[in-house]
Symmetry: C3
Subunit: 319 residues, 3 copies
């Protein structure tokens, strides 16, 4: 079956997952983001590329941060942005997801940014749009269940490329709750496609998926071992609900074993960068002395994230 | 007493109810909507007719769907749209409705889109605006209690005119919870003003108002009888709170008696169209085999609804 | 220590508090507001002064009214406005306030409008922005704890100047819950800076701060005494939570002693104006016969408030 996010001509029609994208498509997105980065530095931070287009934020799962980044990106492209409070909307009144989509398409929606607790919801929408023949309406996955968070993966790749230029010789380590992390999945796929030298994951056994080696990564349970000699350290956020759950003893013990401190970071390469998808739990997965150090490029990730989202929207809209 | 929605010169100053509007006014709105329908198909779906105007959505009763359609319509006219979260606002702090209105007028509001659980709330606002001499501020009723939902009535008329051209020979049936439906009331008024041939309502006795015949409609309790030979079938949404209430045995039994199935629909004219104000309860008031058939024009209603709301806003603003 | 809201060259960099501002700065804001007042009367109520700028509304304490006035002001300056639902956002996920700010700055925020229950929160943000060297990002205090509400103070001064021309000979009385009122504090500072002749406060002993005389005001517990001969009467809103609390017997008894009736108002000068920050509790702190009389300039305050907020935003942005 063809990848539903690519058109017959290989053009990007939706952004659902990094898995399955050709390397050229990824590189094209990153290159386009690079040009948008300059827009955000101008006096008037707007370009008219999406003027008159309607972008709908459909966040079935709440995430103010991510929704805001898409809202900013769309407004800088001059789109009209409509935030749907889906929790209180027609879906809550018993309407099916696809009826909601059909209704919004009938209102001339041009793009859906979808966040959903169920893996695959954005795929369902994209397949439906194909079935009803609406190739002009586009879907961006803003995080679905544990599955995928492709714009986060792309902005992480932008960040690594910005600071390290080339992927081929790099050793990248991802630390934390890999089991529940769509960020980790998206990063691993992107790193493989772009040809990173070595990909490692580190975490307690309870937070590592059992099939993880199949993704072509090296697995460590000890942070000191896993971080040794790395060029890039990607820390994952520890979700609040894990902190006192069955999978972990406590936030404090987690920090003892897997928190990134200056001492542990000194085992990585001297020019290693530290990344985090935010929001950070200081003192849980990362020590403030690391988070506030020059080696942390966490705020650069945020800035690049706006440019990457502008790039994806612009490419989908056919620019 | 003169109709508060019409100015001394007969021009539309507010849209409060379809009841009382001259046929020419209705036709003028539908003709204007027709020109806006083309705007939504353009590459840049915006016209500058309301540029610099401030449209306030005052939804005292929650309805994400309806609010969104007005927001889209206003943004396509280039207005600034402000959504007031009225449940958490000053009204909740003990301020009166009219003090809230006075405050927003003092902020140079140009238009209020009002949804309220109480019949007559938009009238109260319109009368107050006349009393304080603000003819330049306009009110659109987006649904008040069981009373009126005029833009829904207008978009239904647009839909019927689009598919059937002329009202004079048509038989139109409205099926369901007529008692609680402002949609039914607005449709009946509009159909009479535009000269529909015959108007019928169908529903269980408990869901039909006792004075319904006075509105000039034929009343049926049996769906098969009521639908026979009709050109247009308008299904009403069954509100969740009725499904297991005192007025109805159950959603399942309702579907047995009043759900629109292909078999029942075959009693209508072969070219009959099926309408629904949305959101649909599939398997309650309508069978999916009907909802997804070519005879259902439910998504066309949604598209026309944006154009009709743009037309109303544009006419009120004096264009 | 230098005032963090003023740059080294004395230019306004943030608006945190009226206390500490030079008289010229206040007058400059009022004069600028005067020119913006004309914009709101034009057919197209927009100017492009903040086009492409991103204004973030950060309301950690809910206030739909105040948020709306800033949203309108920013949109009339053509800014992009992003309302952050901070209660549900990253702060709720354990992120620190300053990490949230750093993230929004990394998204190229130009201005923060901050409402917070803690006195000093806007200062904390302003100091942080200076520490990280971002002089191009500006903070407006939209009310912090009991401390300050500078735009309310400014719009009150605009209103007094509009109706009374000159401050020097004026007697101004502030009536009500002075203890908990940031409005009262801001008004007192502004009136002193602008050289008002005499400033009085009136209220029950339990609602007057013990150090109030230090601010250079005359204190009265009896409304009739305090209002005698005044040119300007500023009524404060009685917060709902005080009405039946330990500090006051009841709303009814409060009205008996401190409610503004026509009879009490007749003790002020015949041309005295009555102000109120809104939303009003009719029959609690103010009688409807006063609120609806020509001497009440409460709705003018609202209109001037938009112009004053446009002026502050425009000046901060360097226009």
């Amino acid at each position: 079956m063809p990848d539903p996010q690519l058109g017959a001509d290989g053009r990007l029609n939706h952004l659902l997952s990094i898995d399955g994208l050709p390397p050229d498509t990824l590189t094209h997105i990153l290159d386009t983001a690079s040009s948008f980065l300059k827009v955000s530095d101008r006096e008037v931070k707007k370009v008219p590329l999406l003027r008159g287009k309607s972008v709908f934020n459909l966040f079935f799962e709440n995430s103010t941060r991510t929704r805001t980044t898409f809202e900013i990106a769309a407004k800088r492209l001059s789109a009209d942005v409509i935030n749907l409070d889906v929790g209180r909307s027609s879906t809550a009144k018993g309407e099916t997801l696809l009826d909601t989509i059909d209704n919004l398409v009938a209102m001339h929606a041009d793009m859906f940014v979808v966040r959903h607790a169920s893996s695959g919801a954005p795929y369902l929408i994209a397949k439906h749009l194909r079935r009803v023949g609406r190739k002009d309406v586009h879907v961006i996955n803003a995080g679905d269940g544990r599955h995928s968070h492709p714009t986060q993966g792309l902005l992480d790749m932008y960040t690594i490329r910005h600071f390290k230029r080339d992927f081929s010789g790099l050793t990248v380590v991802i630390v934390g709750d890999v089991l529940h992390s769509r960020v980790a999945r998206s990063d691993i796929h992107a790193l493989r496609i772009l040809g990173a030298g070595e990909i490692r994951v580190v975490g307690p056994k309870t937070l590592l998926p059992s099939v993880i080696e199949h993704l072509g990564v090296r697995v460590f349970n000890d942070l000191a071992e896993g971080i040794r000699g790395c060029d890039v350290v990607i820390m994952l956020r520890l979700q609040n609900e894990r902190m006192n759950g069955a999978l972990l003893p406590s936030a404090g013990e987690y920090f003892q074993c897997y928190g990134l401190t200056p001492r542990i970071l000194s085992l990585a390469r001297p020019d290693a960068i530290v990344m985090h998808p935010g929001p950070m739990n200081r003192g849980v997965e990362i020590d403030s002395a690391v988070a506030d150090s020059p080696r942390a490029v966490i705020l650069s990730q945020v800035t690049f994230g706006i440019a990457v989202r502008m790039a994806v929207m612009s490419i989908l809209a056919g620019n």
